[in-house]
């Protein structure tokens, strides 16, 4: 049996772009300084000889050297974790009988679908929805004080609409009803 193809996870674009940009800036700066020193010219700002002399006066056991080392190690560890741990999914996967098709819906869209379903219920004047790992929480607003059955009707409507999407990891719908005068 062929495995179901799945929507790829994130590509770690933000982290990779940031690191690449920092490397590019540092390489540009290092190259520029190398050319200046090799051709016996002075940079427009700063004094390289003074910086060299200052560095000769800095010992390894000074607190800011230790702080720099810890800082580098922490940044390195974060980058390693980003590289090793599986990238997050920004979308909710949908199941399909076609093993060569991977369908997904972004979380905000799932929340909008749930909101639209809640708004279709008689007596609900406004609604919002948040999508969690295993739940969809709907906050429905109604002007009525006698609301028996309305939370269940809202939950049913959202459940039906979301259920039709066939989520790969089904979510439980929870409804909170808020009474607000129209």
């Amino acid at each position: 049996m062929t495995d179901q193809i799945r929507t790829p996870r994130g590509r770690r674009v933000v982290a990779a772009s940031l690191v690449a940009l920092v490397l590019l800036i540092l390489a540009g700066l290092a190259g520029y300084l190398a050319v200046l020193i090799a051709t016996d010219r002075r940079p427009p700002v700063g004094d390289l000889d003074a910086a060299s002399r200052q560095l000769q006066g800095v010992a390894w056991n000074q607190p800011w050297v230790l702080a720099t080392g810890i800082g580098l190690a922490v940044v390195g560890l974060i980058l390693l974790l980003i590289a090793i741990l599986p990238a997050g999914r920004r979308t909710v996967e949908l199941s399909d009988i076609d093993t060569n098709l991977a369908a997904s819906l972004n979380k905000r869209s799932l929340a909008r679908t749930a909101r639209a379903a809640a708004l279709s219920v008689d007596g609900v004047t406004d609604a919002s929805a948040t999508v969690g790992r295993s739940t969809i929480t709907v906050r429905a607003v109604t002007p009525f004080r006698q609301v028996a059955g309305l939370p269940a009707a809202t939950t049913d409507a959202v459940d039906r609409r979301v259920g039709a999407l066939n989520l790969r990891s089904p979510r439980t719908v929870r409804t909170r009803l808020i009474t607000k005068d129209a």
């Binding site: 062929t2 770690r12 690449a20 800095v58 010992a59 080392g69 390195g76 390693l80």
Partner: protein, 196 residues
């Protein structure tokens, strides 16, 4: 949409992360005197090192070469983040007909993706559609990004896309197992009301 970029990002982050972690731990160990109190009291950039650097001016040209290489690699790494390995021409009938005289047919990928987009836009409740073919010309993948109205029946739209549009694309490409990736987005706006 690009698996090479995903792998490249992972390897790049792993390399830079490992280098920074090693350097950071090394500096911290030296600084805390793990390699001896004498060593910890020595300057970070000793006089002897400064003299050696001054006596070897070629070092700066070597540093320049390293900076250029690192800079170019970083620039390429940045550029690939926005690259999409879109296919422009498709090879039809290759490797499927054992007779070499049967020839091959090239088709424009744009023509197919435009037809797919038009088919999807024809479905009620679809606001926007984008189709791309990526991967290799002889093993393409179909990527679909579809935006629907917020009141539209997303499940129905999805069924129509899968049952009709993707099936037609597979038939056109003669690839019944063409992998397809569909991303649905529900628009903030609902369908515009027409006034009769």
């Amino acid at each position: 949409m690009n698996r090479r970029t995903t792998r490249g990002n992972r390897v790049g982050l792993l390399l830079v992360g490992a280098l920074l972690l090693l350097a950071g731990v090394g500096v911290a160990l030296l600084s805390t005197g793990v390699f001896g109190a004498d060593r910890a009291g020595q300057p970070v950039y000793p006089e002897s090192a400064a003299q050696w650097v001054n006596a070897n001016p070629w070092l700066w040209w070597a540093a320049l070469a390293v900076a250029v290489v690192v800079g170019l690699l970083a620039l390429r790494w940045l550029v690939v983040q926005i690259r999409i390995d879109r296919i422009h021409r498709l090879s039809l009938d290759t490797d499927r007909d054992p007779d070499p005289a049967a020839g091959r047919t090239d088709a424009s990928a744009k023509a197919l993706t435009r037809a797919v987009e038009d088919d999807i836009l024809g479905i009620d409740g679809v606001r926007d559609a984008r189709a791309d073919l990526s991967g290799h010309a002889d093993a393409p993948e179909l990527w679909l990004k579809v935006t629907t109205d917020n009141t539209a029946d997303t499940a129905h739209i999805r069924r129509r896309i899968v049952d009709d549009v993707v099936r037609d694309a597979r038939t056109a490409l003669e690839l019944p197992a063409l992998p397809a990736y569909l991303t649905l987005t529900v628009s903030r706006r609902s369908a515009a009301r027409s006034v009769v």
